[in-house]
């Protein structure tokens, strides 16, 4: 399956582009996509989304196409061919 990953700020810096084409196996979940990106871009990617003590993905929102998903509850959501995944940055405050 082909997935488009959209990102900005730190994640864009790590993957090198704001729109990235990623090929994944059928049935890959949202969490699976993060694993793939972690393998491809290494610790530099994981540092942007994972707590470095527990290794867990921290809370942030993700858009799959136009629908919002939560890393706290939705990492098992299956992706479909042609999906666009926009990664919101994990960020406090403002």
């Amino acid at each position: 399956m082909n997935i488009t990953v959209k990102s900005f700020a730190n994640i864009r810096d790590v993957v090198g582009t704001s729109e990235l084409a990623v090929e994944v196996s059928p049935g890959t979940s949202l969490g699976g996509l993060f694993e793939i990106l972690g393998r491809r871009y290494g610790a530099a990617f994981d540092r942007q989304i994972r707590d470095q003590i527990t290794g867990a993905i921290v809370p942030f929102l993700v858009l799959i196409n136009d629908k919002t998903y939560r890393t706290t509850t939705d990492l098992d959501v299956a992706l479909n061919d042609g999906d666009t995944v926009t990664i919101m940055i994990p960020f406090d405050g403002g």
Binding site: A9, N10, Q52, G94
Partner: protein, 626 residues
């Protein structure tokens, strides 16, 4: 080194009370009760002002008081323990207001031996307060009156013969009683609520502090264990170790806009198709030169910037921050980051809150486009969304109260809409007189409730957007959001009393007062407070501030949102269709009051709850308002 006999460490153990009318001052010891029950910062100031201000006083009268206050952690090595709080009855909201800023002023005040300063009365001529360790002097500030905030800091370095001073100063806007005038400490703003104008009304231009003491902690070994733990958490968390240091708060432009939660054109929409021009990425590429930290903070979220070319070439700034970009950029319908940077610098120099200023301009633009403001009302300016070239001149007009338009907008959008009439209140985006910050009400019901019930009105630091925006709780739901918002209130007021920075709330909370936050207090003071006691203290302070508002006339009907948020669904973008109807808000308010033990009809805290919180005197006071 300062030594004091106060029971708890962390505190300097005394306040400086300055009577401006008499030109006198005296030290005032802290009491155990103030520290144990109200912690410091916002909690302590709320108790002092509740006790000392008569209800109904005019904020610009000599009866109002202004307090600068630290918390027990300031001046220690605890990360973000840098913050100075400013407190008074606000000329925008007519109730208790608190605003805090990072930087270096608060630790310096502690090193000089004071937890805080209480200003009362009114000086006959402009003065500034000089604190040099134990030496105190009220000095003539006549020659500094009219100077901008940067210039007066430089002049004071020269007059006092040292640049190793920390200075808090008002600009011309504070002198001219612009209702949202701020106070600038170094490059940091005690921004909201118009407390700079209250200082101006007292003829106080500045406070200059130098201290060579230190802050004692009860047990250095235990403190080191705590510091190891808290710094490890800061290093492990992506927000504090990667994102804040690299992009600072402007990273939120992309995040909020991608979710359709970014106020655009006076909140007519919440999705700005051209927001990329204002993003943290664009800002970093175009103007950011280096990263800066407040005292003791590893997050380095300050972004020192220089504009390299164009009409604002050479303008230097620490910022802009996300809120400035929202208010002076997106809300005014343009995406020129250099205009925002120049306008924000001018806001700081002249001493006005950048959020209130930008939102006032957006209000005027909408009123003009709708024919509610005519050319003769705008001094001939054709106000239109997207006209970026107007922003800097309009900041100056407002901050200096120049012309009809400057004077009108200097009153804040609530009063401006009352003066204008003609239905303009529909476009005055505020609650209780304070404009909304750059976080959506319509797209986050819990946060909308925080805005509605916030004792400061449209502040994003009474409720917080973070839980809903990061998915810690479901964003769209209504059920459960009463308790959710109340617990976030408690986290906020506890951290505002310590005082630590809300930008690192995922460490200090993020959804309620947490164990680590109480450990922080105990490591600094030796109090041995439990988590339950800390949460009770936070609730006590929240109820105290509500009681202050009740005395000033605030009730359930004032816990409200503007018509636009209740009647107009977000028109476009990923959150299109979201709205907080009157019925939804009533549901949220009922949940909130029920959890809080407040009367659902009036919003006044019940006698029983106040007594449970140890606020017997306030329970008696509230009887006369029921």
């Amino acid at each position: 080194m300062n030594r004091n006999d106060f029971r708890y460490k962390g505190y300097a153990g005394k306040l400086l009370r300055v009577n401006l009318t008499e030109g006198t001052w005296q030290d005032e010891p802290l009491t155990n009760e103030l520290a144990e029950r109200y912690i410091g910062g916002a909690g302590m100031a709320a108790r002092i002002l509740y006790n000392e201000l008569q209800p109904g006083i005019e904020p610009f009268s000599s009866e109002n008081k202004v307090i600068f206050l630290t918390g027990p952690v300031e001046g220690t090595m605890i990360p973000t323990a840098s913050r100075i709080g400013l407190y008074a009855k606000s000329p925008l909201t007519n109730s208790f207001f608190h605003s805090s800023a990072g930087g270096h002023f608060a630790p310096e005040l502690k090193f000089a031996g004071y937890d805080g300063i209480i200003f009362e009365g009114r000086a006959r001529q402009p003065v500034y307060l000089f604190i040099d360790d134990g030496y105190i002097e009220l000095r003539d500030a006549s020659r500094f009156w009219g100077m901008d905030t940067r210039r007066v800091q430089l002049e004071l370095f020269e007059e006092l013969g040292s640049d190793e001073l920390q200075i808090a100063a008002i600009g011309p806007a504070g002198e001219k009683l612009v209702r949202f005038a701020c106070v600038i400490c170094g490059c940091r703003a005690l921004g909201r609520g118009g407390l700079g104008a209250v200082l101006g009304s007292k003829n106080v231009k500045a406070v200059a502090v130098r201290g060579q003491g230190s802050v004692e902690v009860p047990d250095m070994r235990k403190m080191k264990v705590f510091l190891d733990e808290i710094f490890a958490r800061f290093s492990a968390n992506p927000a504090t170790s990667e994102i804040l240091p690299r992009y600072g708060t402007p990273v939120l432009v992309h995040a909020n806009n991608s979710l359709g939660l970014f106020g655009y054109k006076n909140w007519q929409d919440e999705f700005f198709p051209a927001a990329e021009g204002l993003s943290g990425d664009t800002m970093r590429k175009k103007i950011v030169k280096r990263d800066k930290s407040c005292f003791a903070c590893p997050a380095r979220c300050g972004k020192f910037s220089i504009i390299g070319e164009g009409p604002y070439e050479g303008v230097r700034n620490e910022g802009p921050e996300y809120e400035d970009i929202f208010s002076l950029g997106s809300m005014c319908g343009h995406n020129d980051i250099e205009v925002v940077a120049a306008a924000e610098r001018l806001c700081d120099d002249l001493g006005v809150d950048a959020i209130e200023t930008g939102v006032a301009i957006a209000f005027a633009m909408e009123c003009c486009e709708r024919g509610l403001l005519r050319r003769e009302d705008t001094d001939g300016i054709d106000l239109k969304f997207g006209r970026a070239e107007l922003i800097v001149p309009l900041v100056e007009k407002i901050a200096l109260r120049t012309g009809k338009l400057g004077n009108l907008l200097a009153e804040g959008v609530r009063r401006a809409s009352e003066i204008l009439g003609n239905g303009s209140y529909h476009f005055a985006m505020h609650n209780k007189g304070l404009t909304f910050a750059g976080h959506s009400a319509r797209g986050m019901p819990g946060f909308a409730l925080g805005y509605a019930t916030g004792p400061r009105g449209g502040s994003h630091h009474d409720g917080r957007p973070t839980g809903e925006r990061t998915g810690l709780v479901p964003r769209e739901t209504i059920e459960g959001k009463g308790e959710y918002t109340a617990r976030i209130n408690h986290l906020n007021i506890f951290t505002d009393s310590l005082i630590v920075c809300h930008l690192t709330e995922s460490i200090w909370g993020p959804l309620d007062v947490a164990d680590i936050t109480v450990k922080c207090l105990n490591a600094a003071t030796g109090m041995n407070m439990t988590l339950d006691e800390a949460r009770t203290a936070a609730e006590r302070i929240w109820n105290l501030i509500r009681a202050f508002a009740v005395r000033e006339g605030y009730r359930r009907e004032h816990d409200c949102l503007p018509p636009r948020f209740m009647e107009e669904p977000i028109p476009s973008g990923p959150s299109s269709g979201m709205v907080i109807t009157r019925q939804m808000l009533d549901n949220l308010l009922d949940q909130y009051y029920e959890f809080r033990g407040w009367d659902k009809k009036t919003g006044i805290p019940t006698r029983d709850r106040l007594i449970q919180l140890g606020l017997e005197d306030i329970a008696r006071d509230m009887e006369r308002y029921r």
